[in-house]
Amino acid sequence: MLIYHYISEILFFAFIVLTFFGGILAVRSKLIIHSVLGLAVCFLGVAGLYFYLDSPFLSMMQILIYVGAICIVLVFGVMVGYTPTQIAEKHLKGKNLVLAVMSGALVFSLMTAVIFKSEFVPAAKRTGDFSMEWLGRSLLYDYCLAFELISLILLAAIVGAIILGQGGRGDN
């Protein structure tokens, strides 16, 4: 139906705006807490885009893991380390600025190259049914090695956390 089409178009642009302005807020705001909240908004926008792409499972996982876990961990750091109105120090100057622009340009050009190089499959020719079964099968059978390698990184992070936590809080 036509009306569904309009609604989905509107939602698509709403999610784009959410992601974009969330990202802007995350990098540009002076209060560090705004950055975290901007990041959360950005993640929510990305979750919406996954939903638009007919992958509700991924979109829920995005909310559960990125908003519900990663942002909360960041929040803990902020709550422990900053007072509410403290302005974050500005590090973006001199050598840092040059490096930031360079790395940003590099990532941007690589992404554009990937986008222009890759062949986009028309909607009629789906490469999988993208259901949960399909996802689980492809993660645990077809791309098992990559999946296990990612979990190795997580293991390293856990070991690192244990080593950091081992000393306790110290005397001060």
């Binding site: 569904y4 929040v75 709550m79």
Partner: protein, 327 residues
């Protein structure tokens, strides 16, 4: 009329479902506040509210009117915009799980195939709202209360997820409709008693209720993260809390206690809804009972209980379930 007839059915279905859900949320909060005070009273050999209406029945309605007429005070040094938005952020994710709640065979707004994950994701959004409220108040009690609340919530989210997962393993589907349908033969409470126990204990903690109500320690933290809130803003946090109580109890009902299954009742045509609500309110009564009988725990005990007992036990339970299902 042609135009209306051409509109897709969801245009009517969604507003009707929304109206029902919002009225359920408000009525549930009214009933629960009344029951809480009444049961507390009788457990302590007093009568509870008696003045307004028959046995104080109208007490909470009058309280709600009072709260609505109060001024919304924003503290001078608070972050105004975030302070205002936080109650809405806390309330909205508490209401959204109703979209997938199977009240009866045909009374479910949408039956998405990831219902359980949807509910858990919404619960994790709630944590963000508590943090925003505590931080934007610019009050050390609010901030400390929010920190407690957030650390408690993320500690108890894991056993909730793991215990629900073991139920999902048995059924083989994330859809709440399928899970309830499976329990026509046998309730999952019998197959997965440990998972049910872990789920219920951790969901009591997730809703920040006694004996785990440490974010609201009057003697040390005043009212926790909503210390600075007044009027309807405060009421929205309360509504969110009671709605969350309803949501976790009805998930426990749907996943472990057979949902709407039950023998047909003699005088009701829609006995499945009655069964669902009866089971849900029984679990909520249990929560109130806990509150007035158990002494509250210390904060380190609370976190240790989750990380050292509930999570390992639920992991072992999940492993055993996976092995048994595979056999």
């Amino acid at each position: 009329m042609d135009f209306i007839a051409n509109l897709p059915p969801h245009f009517f279905r969604i507003p009707i479902a929304l109206t029902l859900v919002i009225s359920l949320v408000f009525i549930n909060a009214l009933i629960m506040v009344y029951l809480e005070r009444k049961i507390a009273g009788h457990m302590q050999f007093r009568l509870g509210p008696m003045e307004v209406g028959w046995h104080g029945l109208l007490q909470t309605a009058i309280d709600a009117v009072k709260l609505m007429s109060k001024q919304l005070i924003v503290p001078d040094k608070a972050h105004t915009r975030l302070f205002r938005i936080a109650p809405l952020l806390a309330f909205t994710p508490a209401v959204l799980p109703f979209a997938v709640m199977p009240f009866a065979p045909n009374l479910q707004a949408v039956d998405i195939n990831i219902g359980v994950i949807f509910i858990i994701a919404m619960a994790s959004l709630n944590v963000m709202a508590i943090f925003v409220a505590g931080w934007a108040s610019n009050n050390k009690y609010a901030l400390l209360g929010a920190m407690r609340s957030v650390s408690q919530n993320i500690a108890y989210e894991i056993p909730v997820l793991l215990s629900l997962l073991s139920a999902v393993f048995v059924v083989g589907s994330f859809s709440l409709g399928d899970i309830v349908g499976y329990q026509g033969k046998i309730w999952l409470f019998i197959v997965q008693p440990l998972a049910f126990l872990i789920y219920f204990v951790s969901s009591v903690a997730e809703t920040n209720r006694a004996p785990f109500d440490l974010p609201e320690a009057e003697s040390e933290l005043t009212a926790g993260f909503h210390t600075e809130y007044s009027g309807m803003a405060f009421a929205l946090f309360f509504l969110g809390e009671y709605t969350e109580m309803f949501v976790v109890s009805s998930i426990a009902t749907a996943v472990f206690l057979g949902g709407w299954h039950g023998f047909p009742l003699p005088f009701f045509e829609y006995s499945s809804v009655v069964w669902f609500l009866l089971k849900t309110y029984f679990l909520m009564f249990l929560m109130i009972w806990f509150r007035w009988t158990f002494p509250r725990v210390r904060f380190d005990q609370l976190l240790n209980f989750s990380w050292k007992y509930l999570i390992p036990f639920s992991l072992v339970n999940l492993l055993i379930t996976a092995v048994v299902v595979k056999l």
